[in-house]
């Protein structure tokens, strides 16, 4: 039986090479100067200093976090009722609705985002509909609103599916029990359904927030050339400016921020679970 454990050996080597080493390289680049020859190796904090002392970079970081937060909030506000509705439908209807929501996520994100360009551009369908309601010449494409829309569009399905999964897993007799014991629907929802669906909510938040912060093609396609989020900043450093060390430092900063946020979220989740079960 023990010999099966050897099956994991190749993967341990692979993971060291393909998962750990890349992260170590980013860290290494972020603390060294351009040229990165092993001989002229010297550690420096200048890239981090550059980032944190320049208000322009901090504004970009702040905006990325803010728009990701907005995206997550909107996805939660739309996604929770939708998931709730789905979980209350008949089983057949549930399957159809889940399929309806899953299908678009199978189609390439870039392709779906590209489709919005036509819809939002001047004289496009959305502008025509707005025009019908008397809103003329609204600038839609290449605005922050367009970026937000693109993000919600791309990430909302994750939220719905996650919440729906945890709502469906829930034992329905708990709801009956709650009602039998005299709880009104509102308080059943607040005290039974909501806490039980929290793991789904947290997974959903993770799956929305994480890609929203680092996305760079949605801002580029829908926000236009001068719309910068932190992902664009990193792409820019690697693809056009060529300052890989600075780019690596920004990546590290982002990775650390995300890690801290995820830890905070997990903590909330754990405390919640601990309170309920023990």
């Amino acid at each position: 039986m023990k010999r099966f454990s050897q099956l994991a050996l190749p993967y341990i080597v692979w993971a060291a090479l393909m998962l750990i080493l890349p992260m170590a390289l980013i860290a290494l680049y972020s603390f060294t100067r351009h040229g990165n020859a092993i001989i002229s190796f010297s550690l420096t904090l200048e890239h981090y200093q550059k980032f944190f002392t320049d208000p322009d970079f901090l504004i970009v970081l702040g905006r990325s976090l803010w728009i990701a937060l907005e995206t997550t909030a909107i996805c939660l506000l739309l996604g929770y009722p939708a998931a709730y509705f789905i979980s209350r439908s008949s089983e057949k209807m549930q399957n159809i609705l889940v399929l309806c929501i899953t299908l678009p996520t199978w189609i390439n994100m870039l392709v779906r985002t590209y489709a919005w360009i036509g819809l939002l551009s001047e004289g496009g369908l959305i502008a025509q509909i707005l025009g019908f309601f008397g809103i003329q010449d609204a600038e839609l494409l290449y605005t922050e609103g367009a970026v937000l829309l693109g993000m919600v569009y791309n990430f909302l399905p994750f939220m719905i599916l996650q919440i729906n999964t945890s709502l469906c897993k829930m034992d329905h007799s708990l709801l009956e029990a709650s009602a039998d014991l005299g709880a009104r629907p509102a308080s059943t929802f607040r005290r039974v359904t909501l806490p039980l669906s929290l793991p789904g909510v947290i997974n959903g938040i993770t799956l929305v927030f994480l890609p929203a912060v680092s996305s760079f093609f949605i801002p580029k396609l829908l926000g236009g050339g001068q719309y910068f989020l932190i992902g664009n900043l990193i792409e820019n450093q690697f693809i056009t400016v060529g300052e890989w060390n600075f780019g690596s430092a920004i990546s590290m900063i982002m990775a650390v921020i995300m890690m801290l946020m995820m830890m905070a979220v997990r903590k909330v989740e754990n405390r919640n679970r601990g309170g309920k079960e023990e």
Partner: protein
């Protein structure tokens, strides 16, 4: 009360479904549009499908997408399952550490993972291309497979394998006959997740690919700057393939269940993946069937890696060259000289590059390109005299001019007062009358050229004060004028008169003016950048001989005519220039097509690494300032 909640739910669901499907539907409808517009439907046509089928680039991208996804899924499923079984029998500490390691790609922002892979491949000098893309996909898919297999293994009786072996099974049999069937549902869902992640991936693929290999996402990203309804056609094709796959996955188990009602769960679950594999195998087989014809061809079976600007080749030049020589041309495109330089300087290998003047100078200085073998170059005689022996390559030892032109102002004659242009020159970009109505071009060189010329300096200045003043000029422009900073998007947008003014390359202006009569092109008296892009052969080219053949072909009458008439940039072949600009030519009377040689303020860029670094950093700050001003 309850009723109203249901209605609210239904309305919400209805709106969401519309929200999710409207863009997809819109895309499908416009893939059948006769015209090029993405907003006005002018009639039914299949022309974009034809365009798509004829474009090897697109077919190749589709093939890459599906083949990488299939291979990555298959490999990561097998490896992930085996490793998960192995890990479950390992010591606890190993298991915990590996769980954390596997979390790296799941919990890190994708762009960080992507950059990690890129640095890895570059550090170990693995040439970026199909293999690196596949490796990266396998690397980020395995954790998903393990994540979905692990819980199933944990729920197994730990003595199961021992029992099987006590009964005489070999370890291999115990594994394949006992354990794997038990955890099959986990494996299948793991494989499905891996497939979804791989087929949809953009960010990681974008950073680890090279050598012209691109998947669908990368193609859309690089092509999306200009309206190209073929993207809608190929997207519709993908929608159809995916829908059929999903229907199969969801319907086949139902059908199978009907046929054999008592079938065990593990059994019917296998049908879906088999069906997927079948459909995909047919798709892949279909694409690999496209093979060439037979004839004597000097470069039969060889490959030319051609790295050039986006939208910079004629419709037929590549296929004509392939037909003539039997070689295959793999084209990859860049947006800026700097982007090209970073790739080449980091070891990416191409046979031909098309950099601009100052970049050629830099590549020569850094010993990245090779001298042309003049005995193999037969085309120099056809090149216009004023484009030969330019300062960056005085004897044309390294380069043959490809296109040339100026940088100027494209303007809507119905919106812009010509007097303003004449009076202000480039300072029209600071004229509040046109606030919110201008485009800047996302190029550090040309933006600083505009600012320096507006202030009356040389665009090759090395004076820090002058550069700082130009930087201030650009800052005040982005802070007060609400410009949009674009690259190729400007072409379609100005052709549709979306804004009043824009800084533009003359060749793009030529195209715009031939599409829309209201557009004009103005070269300020304070001077401009006379640029030319040349074909060069990098030091690490794999096939210099084929590269020479291509240079000759591209500079010949046929090649240059096809390029110039299609793209709109000024031909460097004198005869082609005369024919296109002269009476009856495609660009007769379009001033943007002519190369101005009479203004003493016009200059050619020279290369200075110090200055480049300064400008590059300042320009990236201008862009961030623009972003923060909006």
């Amino acid at each position: 009360m309850k009723q109203s909640k249901r209605i609210f739910g239904k309305v919400l669901m209805g709106l969401l479904v519309v929200f999710f499907y409207l863009p997809i539907l819109y895309m499908i409808v416009f893939s059948f549009n006769e015209g090029k517009s993405l907003t006005a439907f002018s009639g039914f046509s299949l022309r974009w499908y034809q365009h798509m089928l004829e474009s090897r680039d697109m077919m190749q991208a589709l093939y890459t997408t599906f083949s990488v996804a299939l291979l990555a899924t298959a490999i990561s499923t097998v490896v992930g399952t085996i490793s998960a079984i192995g890990l479950s029998k390992s010591r606890r500490i190993v298991r915990d550490v590996m769980a954390q390691v596997n979390n790296l790609p799941l919990m890190n922002p994708e762009i960080v993972t992507a950059i990690g892979f890129m640095l890895l491949f570059i550090t170990f000098q693995v040439e970026k291309g199909y293999i690196t893309m596949l490796l990266a996909h396998i690397a980020f898919c395995i954790p998903y497979v393990m994540l979905s297999v692990m819980p199933k293994i944990r729920s197994l009786d730990p003595n199961l394998a021992d029992a099987a072996m006590d009964l005489g099974a070999t370890p291999w049999q115990a594994l394949t006959k006992v354990i794997v069937p038990q955890i099959a549902p986990g494996i299948v869902s793991g494989a499905l997740i891996a497939f979804t992640m791989s087929i949809d991936d953009f960010i990681i693929s974008y950073f680890v690919t090279g050598g012209g290999v691109k998947n669908l996402s990368i193609m859309v990203y690089t092509m999306s700057k200009r309206v190209n309804p073929s993207i809608n056609a190929i997207s519709t094709l993908v929608v159809v393939i995916i829908t059929v796959l999903l229907l199969l996955i969801n319907l086949l188990p139902l059908l199978a269940a009907k046929r054999q009602k008592k079938a065990e769960i593990g059994h019917r679950r296998w049908i879906a993946p088999v069906a997927i594999a079948l459909v995909l195998a047919i798709t892949v087989g279909f694409f690999s069937l496209q093979k060439g014809n037979e004839r004597y061809l000097p470069f039969e079976g060889e490959t030319l890696y051609f790295y050039t600007w986006g939208e910079y080749t004629g419709e037929n030049i590549l296929s004509d060259f392939e037909e003539l020589t039997g070689a295959t041309v793999i084209m990859e495109t860049f947006d800026s000289n700097e982007q090209m330089y970073i790739k080449v300087a980091n070891g990416a290998s191409y046979d031909i590059l098309v950099p601009s003047d100052y970049m050629i100078e830099r590549l020569i200085q850094e010993d990245l390109i090779q001298k042309l073998d003049r005995s193999q170059i037969t085309c120099l005689d056809h090149i216009s005299d004023h484009l030969k022996g330019l300062p960056y390559d005085p004897n044309n030892e390294y380069s043959v001019p490809y296109f040339c032109g100026m940088v100027g102002i494209v303007y809507d004659t119905t919106k812009v007062d010509f007097k303003d242009l004449e009076r202000d020159g480039y300072n029209i970009f600071l004229n509040p009358k046109y606030r919110g109505d201008i485009y800047l071009y996302d190029s550090e060189r040309d933006s600083f050229m505009m600012a320096l010329k507006a202030l009356g300096y040389s665009m090759n200045t090395e004076n820090q004060d002058e550069i700082n003043r130009a930087y201030e000029w650009l800052l005040s422009c982005v802070r007060t004028m609400e410009p949009e900073i674009v690259t190729d998007e400007i072409i379609d947008n100005m052709a549709q008169a979306r804004k009043a003014l824009g800084l533009i390359y003359s060749g793009d202006a030529t195209y715009i003016m031939s599409e829309n009569e209201d557009m004009g092109f103005y070269l300020p008296e304070s001077g401009t950048n006379q640029w030319s892009d040349g074909m060069v052969i990098p030091k690490n080219a794999k096939n210099p001989e084929l590269a020479h053949a291509f240079i000759n072909f591209a500079a010949s009458y046929d090649g240059a005519y096809d390029n110039s008439s299609y793209v709109g940039y000024t031909a460097t072949n004198e005869q082609v220039f005369q024919d296109l600009y002269g009476p009856g030519g495609d660009f007769e009377g379009i001033n943007a097509y002519e190369y101005r040689t009479t203004n003493p303020n016009d200059e050619v860029f020279t290369y200075n690494e110090e200055i480049r670094k300064i400008l590059s950093n300042l320009w990236s700050k201008v862009k961030i300032a623009a972003s923060n001003a909006g």
